[in-house]
């Protein structure tokens, strides 16, 4: 993948290249690219004058960051308590079986990334899963696997 350094610089400039904005800058890059390419991290380190070890500590500490590319389709299954008591684990297991990856993984073809989240704020609809930002509520295990067949 080819990186657009100008875009990264833009993001850094928006935060005045302040060291204290490191997390905010990484979040912006992550939402732009869906992951944090090495080149981008290097650039951030250089412009903010923070050591790579600190950047690495941050990117591994916080769950929002990924240092590997994500799939074309992002599946989020809610594992919050409300969804858990309504059978979220069975939904996750069934999806995991259907696409052959575990939570936190991306398949080899970069088609799907499967993630778990803790509460999406619509517990009334639990169990909830979100595919590419589209919410599916009250999902039954078999139905969840069925829905995934619609994605290319």
């Amino acid at each position: 993948m080819c990186m657009d350094i100008a875009k990264i610089d833009n993001i850094i400039d928006k935060h005045n290249a302040e060291q204290s904005s490191l997390i905010q800058i990484l979040l912006d890059i992550q939402s732009e690219h869906n992951w944090l390419p090495k080149q981008a991290l290097d650039r951030v380190g250089e412009r903010l004058d923070v050591p790579m070890s600190r950047i690495q500590h941050i990117t591994t500490f916080y769950k929002a960051f990924s240092q590997v590319p994500k799939g074309r389709h992002q599946i989020h299954v809610c594992m919050g308590t409300a969804c858990h008591v309504r059978g979220a684990q069975r939904v996750l297991d069934t999806i995991s079986d259907a696409i052959g990856i575990k939570a936190g993984e991306t398949d080899a073809e970069l088609k799907f990334s499967l993630e778990t989240v803790n509460c999406l704020g619509c517990c009334a609809l639990g169990p909830v899963m979100v595919i590419d930002g589209e919410y599916h509520g009250n999902v039954a295990p078999a139905q969840s696997a069925e829905v995934l067949k619609n994605y290319e």
Binding site: L26, I58, A82, V85, N118, P141
Partner: protein
């Protein structure tokens, strides 16, 4: 937009807004909170616009998109004013009828009204629906009246009145005195008296002080902070401004978890509008008070809700907690005195200043004043956000407001306080919910998550679930928490898998005590609570798992099996068609059989088997009966 320089100008501005408004003018209010958004409120909004246009009503009817109303189970929710008619589960195709019937002919669309499942009675107004009727919505109530992106809406309902009063008519000491007298306790979990906390920060030496809003809300299954921040960012901001004035802070931070983009958006608009009108910045309302505020997005870590971690994270570092003292009130952000409160705590401030400490402290119990917003979720009929006076019995919350447990199942327990909380069994349902009563039960108020569980929920699994969550979320800095939780989780997992041993319960109790005593921060100290409270009230379930290798709730995957009763199977094939694992054998007019080797125990077949047959059951602690021989499977 004009800058407003004095309370008189504010009132003039408000009058101008109100004079343009007419209470009798038709208005459609549509909930666009997270749950309603997920159930399609966007499409309903489009349909409303199109329909009004086609009837030529566009200039005669106002449309207002609001934040969460609370009754998320029934969304999308649409309310028609001035009558206040409440329509539930509205679909785009219903809009045509709403416009033609309700607006043109002043008639109700019966099928969109709330129907009480127990009595069959219909309710046409929000205040008649039992879910709302028994609440007292001091904080959440405004959500239904304002568009979170419209400062005018907020001013129309009296917004920024409390700020004007505090800044111009009260000294900082008087504001703190009022909050102390109101006996407000922090809504973020531990219930520390807010006025006292403010006083510490005010009295701490230092010119530069900070105030912080904690909207990290890492508690799984709780979303009230989100609903407030998305639906009414103004009130939180107003509370923060008042607090900053009282404490003597000139800068504030609002820490919002990155998973709440709508909250960040709405907040950003609210801040911009406040800046443009002079509610933020220099010399606010001509009072001489200066204050600026920044939004900081969290990056997804439960521990960042803990105040010392949150401050680390605000400084751009990994969110690892620090020992206290020194408390943030003395040495917080960048080493300066800092006061940090939860979203709901801040939202209570304008109410206290507007209505006075006496009014506020007349609500609630002796030790806990005001209302509390709960996220009432799980196995309960009316799921959503409920706001009730402190001291309401659990039974009333779950049965009167929540409508009880669905599908005729039996109530088993309610879990309060999230990962730091505990489970309360049926015999204590009459306990009055406040900070101290819950604590006595071995549970906690926490942020206000209330998860209802029925007979199908395994309490051992729930305790395991919270340990798993906390094991993932422990920052790992101190050994008792990191290792203690991990080891407890190992034992709990073994128990739920049928690999529990004699002595495991005592082992768990020992580890729980050690972790409680030795961990650095409250995450570790409270992590054993779910284990201890379930052991206290549901010890027999642990014993069944360990001694009989049986899950009484028929829930733990490794301990259950699915079985088709040959005598009940009608050979319809519904289960076979739905089974995602191809684990069911059968054919037309033959008894179906589950291949136990292939079965992943997803439970789909039970739901697929027609209710009239109910041929599939779950077994635990007993061997699965041999299926009939293939030659004996044909049905007549």
């Amino acid at each position: 937009m004009p800058r407003i320089n004095s309370p008189a100008e504010l009132e003039e501005f408000r009058r101008a807004i109100l004079s343009k408004r007419d209470d009798k003018r038709p208005c459609i209010t549509l909930c666009s909170g997270s749950a309603c958004h997920a159930t399609g409120s966007e499409k309903v909004a489009d349909a409303i616009m199109a329909e009004l246009e086609s009837h030529g009503l566009k200039d005669q009817v106002d449309v207002r998109r609001t934040g969460c109303h609370g009754f998320c189970e029934q969304g999308p929710i649409l309310v028609v004013y001035p009558e206040g008619i409440s329509y539930l589960k509205v679909k785009p195709e219903d809009v045509c009828e709403i416009v033609s019937h309700t607006f043109k002919e002043k008639k109700l669309v019966e099928r969109l009204l709330y129907v009480d499942p127990n009595t069959g009675d219909k309710s046409s107004h929000e205040h008649d629906i039992p879910f709302y009727k028994n609440q007292q919505r001091l904080i959440l109530g405004l959500n239904t009246k304002i568009d979170p992106k419209s400062l005018e809406d907020y001013l129309a309902v009296g917004g920024y009145q409390a700020m004007a009063k505090a800044l111009l008519q009260m000294t900082p000491e008087q504001v703190i005195g009022e909050v102390k007298q109101a006996k407000l306790r922090g809504r973020g979990g531990a219930g520390f008296p807010s006025g006292t906390k403010w006083e510490f920060a005010r009295n701490a030496p230092g010119d530069q002080k900070y105030v912080v809003v904690n909207c990290d809300e890492g508690d799984p299954g709780a979303y009230m902070d989100r609903a407030l921040m998305e639906g009414n960012p103004f009130t939180v901001l107003e509370g923060l401004l008042i607090g900053a004035y009282a404490i003597g802070a000139s800068e504030g931070y609002i820490y919002v978890r990155q998973e709440y983009p709508l909250a960040v958006d709405n907040l950003t608009v609210a801040i911009r509008e406040a800046e443009e009108h002079g509610f933020l910045g220099k010399n606010i309302l001509g009072s001489g008070f200066d204050f600026t505020v920044k939004v900081h997005r969290g990056a997804g870590a439960f521990i960042c809700g803990e105040e010392t971690s949150l401050l680390q994270s605000l400084e751009g570092k990994p969110g690892e907690p620090k020992p206290r003292p020194p408390f943030p009130a003395v040495r917080g952000l960048w080493g300066k005195p800092t006061n940090i409160n939860n979203v709901e705590t801040w939202a209570n401030i304008p109410v206290i200043i507007n209505k006075g400490a006496e009014y506020f402290s007349s609500i609630g119990t002796e030790s806990s004043k005001g209302t509390k917003v709960f996220s009432l979720v799980g196995k309960v009929n009316n799921t959503g956000l409920v706001e009730v006076p402190m001291g309401m019995p659990l039974r009333d919350i779950i049965f009167k407001i929540g409508g009880g447990v669905p599908n005729g199942k039996k109530f088993k327990a309610v879990q309060t306080g999230g990962p730091s909380g505990g489970c309360i069994p049926e015999e204590y349902l009459d306990v009055k919910v406040d900070f101290d009563e819950l604590m006595k039960m071995g549970a906690m108020m926490g942020s206000g998550g209330m998860i209802v569980m029925d007979e199908d929920t395994c309490l051992v699994d729930i305790a395991r679930y919270f340990l798993e969550f906390l094991s993932d979320e422990s920052c790992g800095k101190c050994v008792p928490c990191r290792e203690g939780i991990r080891q407890m989780l190992k034992v709990m997992t073994a128990i739920t898998q049928g690999k529990g041993k004699e002595g495991d319960i005592e082992l768990l109790e020992n580890m729980a005590m050690a972790t409680q005593g030795a961990a650095l921060c409250a995450l570790g100290k409270t992590a054993p609570n779910p284990v201890l409270s379930t052991l206290k009230y549901f010890r027999h379930e642990y014993e069944a798992h360990i001694k009989e290798k049986r899950c009484p709730a028929l829930s733990c995957k490794e301990l259950i099996a699915f079985h088709i009763e040959p005598a009940k199977c009608k050979g319809c094939g519904s289960c076979l068609r739905k089974c995602p694992a191809n684990a069911i054998e059968g054919g037309k007019k033959t008894i179906h059989v589950i291949d136990q080797e292939k079965c992943t125990k997803c439970g789909t077949c039970i739901e697929a088997c027609p209710a009239a047959f109910q041929a599939i059951s779950k077994l635990s602690g007993v061997p699965v009966p041999e299926p009939p021989a293939p030659s004996a499977r044909a049905l007549a």
